[in-house]
């Protein structure tokens, strides 16, 4: 395992910006999650680190080496693709053994068997080892795909939305499993996802990308509690953060244009009148959908309370996040 450092990395595809001047340090043993909408440069970042793309400018350092001139094989990275790309002409076992048999690793046969069996056990695919890769279900294919990375002991694991194609149950299981494996191995991991729960539960660090730029990098709590822009604030949080004009409640620093209130950062009983449009009982919590002077607001209520749609409720923000006209945070 190793530290990975990106220095002023840029890559564009013709007129399209892929990655724009990203600098980031992925500490040894860290689990870094990249967040951002489609086209923000998450996958391109992974491909630049792996060597599948050549950067236009900037450097990638893995374990203290500038890997700019190295091939993907020499960089010693493992990657799980978003599209599970199992070798269709090989069995599951041969797929898992493929990286170990490479001329670079050239693992002895008995060790290959041991590692493949170990990984197959963890991913619950032991009974499918002799199947052709094409005879698996989507979930099984993706597990083999993850397994093909886990059999190795690379400098860094790169994972591009590895769980996005799985059903909810398997996703939860594998999420816990992946985090456990990463923690046990002390592995360095760079992980791309859209899923907030994956980001919050697994990451030691979160990087938020926007149009190829790294706009904030920090622990999941920092990103959630202390976002430096409206864009970052709206990347995390479910239900999403409520954004309303600052003059509704007042009492904000000068220059504030909008305020952001997380659903749990709204107090009830005083403040402005809002109409309850809808009540959702989720069991462990109750969500209220409100109409505050034409703005839709989502907040949480005690599960025991009985609110009726159509009734009025007074709400006030608690420690709101203040943003200027450009969406930058005002502290």
């Amino acid at each position: 395992m190793a530290e990975v450092v990106l220095k002023n990395l840029s890559k564009s595809f013709g007129a399209d910006v892929g990655v724009d001047n990203i600098s980031m340090t992925i500490p040894d043993g860290a689990f870094v999650v990249l967040l951002g909408p489609t086209g923000a440069g998450k996958t391109t970042t992974l491909r630049l680190i792996s060597g599948l793309e050549k950067s236009d400018s900037g450097e990638v350092w893995i374990d203290g080496r500038n890997v700019g001139s190295e091939t993907p094989a020499q960089r010693d990275v493992a990657m799980v693709f978003q599209q599970y790309s199992l070798y269709p002409h090989l069995t599951v076992k041969d797929n898992l053994a493929f990286p170990l048999k490479s001329p670079i690793l050239n693992t002895p046969a008995d060790e290959i068997d041991r590692k493949v069996a170990e990984v197959a056990e963890v991913l619950q695919i032991s009974h499918k080892l002799n199947n052709k890769a094409t005879e698996l279900s989507g979930g099984e294919m993706q597990r083999v795909s993850i397994g093909r990375a886990l059999v190795r002991d690379p400098s860094i694991y790169l994972m591009d939305e590895p769980l996005s194609s799985l059903d909810a149950k398997l996703r939860t299981d594998l999420r816990v499993e992946l985090k456990r494996i990463q923690a046990n191995l002390g592995a360095t991991m760079l992980y791309v996802t859209h899923d907030q729960i994956e980001a919050m539960t697994m990451a030691t660090h979160v990087g938020v990308l926007s149009n190829g730029k790294l706009v904030q990098f920090g622990t999941p709590r920092e990103i959630y509690e202390d976002p430096n822009s409206l864009y970052v604030a709206s990347r995390l949080g479910l239900p999403r953060i409520n954004i309303i004009p600052s003059d509704i409640f007042g009492g904000v620093p000068p220059g504030t244009n909008q305020i952001g209130m997380r659903p749990e950062h709204i107090t009830q009983g005083s403040g402005q009148e809002a109409e309850i449009k809808r009540v959702e009982h989720l069991g462990d919590q109750t969500r209220l959908h409100l109409n505050l002077q034409g703005h839709a607001i989502t907040t949480l209520a005690d599960p025991e309370t009985n609110y009726e749609p159509g009734s009025q409720i007074k709400i006030a923000p608690k420690n709101p996040l203040c943003f200027d006209a450009d969406g930058n945070r005002i502290r």
């Binding site: 599948l52 070798y87 002409h89 001329p103 094409t134």
Partner: protein
């Protein structure tokens, strides 16, 4: 019958389709069967009218195909009784076997030239198709069009220039010359067909292999090639059939050392003209290698083994 299904054809249409396939198979197989039967006829039966379907089979055609014979005096024949079954067959015409014919050599030439040019076409074609499919090549479209354009005129249109060129280069009537010529004709087909097959293999596989610790050539060899096997097999069959059957250039450019079977077979002269049973026997044997090659590769002709492992 009231049920109607869009996926499963009705019994009647299946029966109809089956009948059509059988009729088509019969139509295409009758000439082949006729050739094979003629190979076992006597010269008289072979040209009798109306044609004979029932006849007494003889290996005379095959004996005549593989041997040269000379007429002998009755005294000589009486002094030298026949030693083998094929001696006996030729004695009926007061002849003895003088030696083997050139058919064996010509057949071997066909094998060397046919398979040699097929191998070379596939080898070069696969590498070129991979490059066209995967790399940014300047003027790739123009190059591909140029490669295809070599197929746009009938090959025989360039026969005279090639004849003169080969004579200058000393390639006339050589195995190398014929292999190069057939490869030149086949390569355009091979590049285009194989490019289509390689285009269909998603790039992800190679990228995964590159990251798994392999070089690009190893990734090509271990990941792309096995998945292109279907395309390579069917392309190889096309190339072999062309090179195997080619007649015009073979007549023009070969006469001895490198002569292939197609120009040789029709020249087999028997008693009083063409020896049809020997010609038919030669054609029958000539058919076998391509048939065997196709049967061996037939499982690769069925598509579908590579689909489904990359989510689209």
């Amino acid at each position: 019958m009231s049920s109607f299904s869009v996926t499963e054809p009705s019994k009647r249409s299946k029966w109809f389709a089956g009948t059509m396939v059988v009729i088509y198979a019969l139509v295409t197989m009758v000439p082949l069967a006729w050739i094979m039967l003629t190979g076992f006829k006597s010269p008289a039966d072979a040209i009798s009218y109306p044609p004979k379907v029932v006849f007494e089979p003889t290996l005379e055609g095959y004996v005549n195909l593989f041997t040269t014979r000379t007429r002998q005096t009755p005294e000589f024949l009486a002094a030298n009784p026949p030693e083998t079954w094929y001696d006996e067959i030729v004695r009926e015409y007061d002849m003895v076997i003088a030696g083997p014919s050139k058919f064996g050599e010509r057949f071997l030439n066909s094998v060397i030239i046919g398979f040699g040019s097929t191998f070379l076409s596939i080898f070069l074609g696969t590498l070129a198709a991979y490059a066209f499919s995967r790399f940014k090549i300047p003027l790739a479209d123009d190059l591909l069009f140029f490669i295809l354009s070599t197929r746009m005129m009938p090959p025989i249109a360039v026969a005279i220039p090639i004849f003169l060129m080969y004579r200058q280069l000393g390639l006339s009537d050589t195995h190398l010359g014929m292999i190069l010529l057939y490869t030149g004709v086949n390569i355009s087909l091979a590049v285009w067909l194989l490019k289509g097959f390689i285009d269909e293999i998603p790039l992800e596989y190679e990228e995964a292999a590159l990251i798994d610790g392999y070089t690009r050539f190893q990734a090509f060899y271990k990941v792309v090639l096995p998945q292109a096997a279907t395309g390579i097999a069917s392309t190889a069959i096309f190339c072999l059939i062309f090179a195997w059957n080619e007649y015009a250039f073979a007549v023009l450019l070969t006469s001895g050392t490198a002569q292939t079977a197609p120009p040789f077979i029709p020249t087999i002269i028997g008693v009083g003209g063409l020896d049809w049973p020997a010609v038919a026997a030669g054609a029958t044997i000539f058919l076998l290698p391509v048939m065997i090659f196709t049967i061996l590769l037939r499982k690769h002709l069925l598509r579908g083994i590579t689909f489904g492992a990359v989510r689209k």
